[in-house]
Symmetry: C2
Subunit: 245 residues, 2 copies
Amino acid sequence: MNDVIELLQSHRSIRKFSDKDIDQETINAIVASGQAAATSSNVQATTVIQVNSASDRDQLAAFAGGQKYVSTAGAFLVFCADLKRSAQACDSQGGEFTQGMTEHFIIATVDVALFAQNCAIAAESLGLGICYIGGLRNKPAEVSELLKLPENVYPVFGFCIGYPEQDPEIKPRLPLSSVLMQDVYTENVLQPGIDAYDEHIRAYYRSRTGGKKDSCWSEEMRALVGKESRPHMREFLNSKGFTML
Amino acid sequence: MNDVIELLQSHRSIRKFSDKDIDQETINAIVASGQAAATSSNVQATTVIQVNSASDRDQLAAFAGGQKYVSTAGAFLVFCADLKRSAQACDSQGGEFTQGMTEHFIIATVDVALFAQNCAIAAESLGLGICYIGGLRNKPAEVSELLKLPENVYPVFGFCIGYPEQDPEIKPRLPLSSVLMQDVYTENVLQPGIDAYDEHIRAYYRSRTGGKKDSCWSEEMRALVGKESRPHMREFLNSKGFTML
């Protein structure tokens, strides 16, 4: 359709980066692009921690389950949902911050993701590659301690940026007909879409790995949502003031 | 820096749209661009409901607190966090969906926002304007009933798309130095950033309204986070299976 849509549709995560540094001006432009994203009621609930310390990066890589590219990427950012800033602003006006609302948690989490996706697009438009690191939520308390995150702030995900040293294929997605529905949720499109996609992605994995990886999306989903996932998150969030009232 | 970054940084919400229709091919390209965004462990937890029915759009506009552009935009999409599809895939493989994990709620909500922000950029690259409608969360149960959303699916926000019939200014944001921190969270940058921004945004509101609107960000934050916000959200989410375990 146009160059931007082509850029959006050519995304793939990059996990191998060259040694080439990213200058601070570029990081600033990327983060400023994030700031330009929509934000709920102008709350601007995103704070980005740019982690430069090599030893901190190594620790974060370990917290994320041994994802080395957290250390080796040209830059590493931690995207935090931050209600501390708006709480402080509220209190400075004689208000009293109402802590722990589920709705505020949603607002802040969505804000962070909109912001980060703009950063992803900005980076990719400059020829950089990116990779989201949800694995920081393996050890959110440890991440928070390392980065000195205060109450009312939580690390949503990390984000590697760097000059790519690999050129992976674009991963196929579910058929559009499975994810775009008309007027009402249409349950009977689910299974045909899943079946078609299972076949598609199995062929993709096989061809990419010379037949070694032979699994489908439904199997991946059994592994992902068929068990408890990061069961510490609730308590961790509570400890940071996100008590889901 | 480049055209894409310029596009990202020129975002503003559009709330007045021309009558010009958007053809379905364009909507499909926009939603396919959303699909291309990163997704946690390939869960692809986004379902988009394109609402065409005029009476449904009017109802959604009312649910959102009387936001007429929900009715008048060229197209209206509801972005849903959808764990039903992955649950069904899991169960089809002999697994058992583990309902209610806070972590899965975060994954799904972030997935939706990344997807939607790609849609926003795709639309804007085509000369369309967009506006997120968080106001659907005023009446999430009613929205869910209207759109027949099943268990394990919740409406995160709506999304107007259309050809702009207004040209609003870009709203200034907090200073970059407030939202981008180095290595650790730096509490002492908060207040200077808030103070500078309060002054900046007050001047912006005054000049835009001929002096009529005279408020600052801190006052807005007192109104936003200084009280309960959509206190029904927790119970609504619980009722849909998002029980925050």
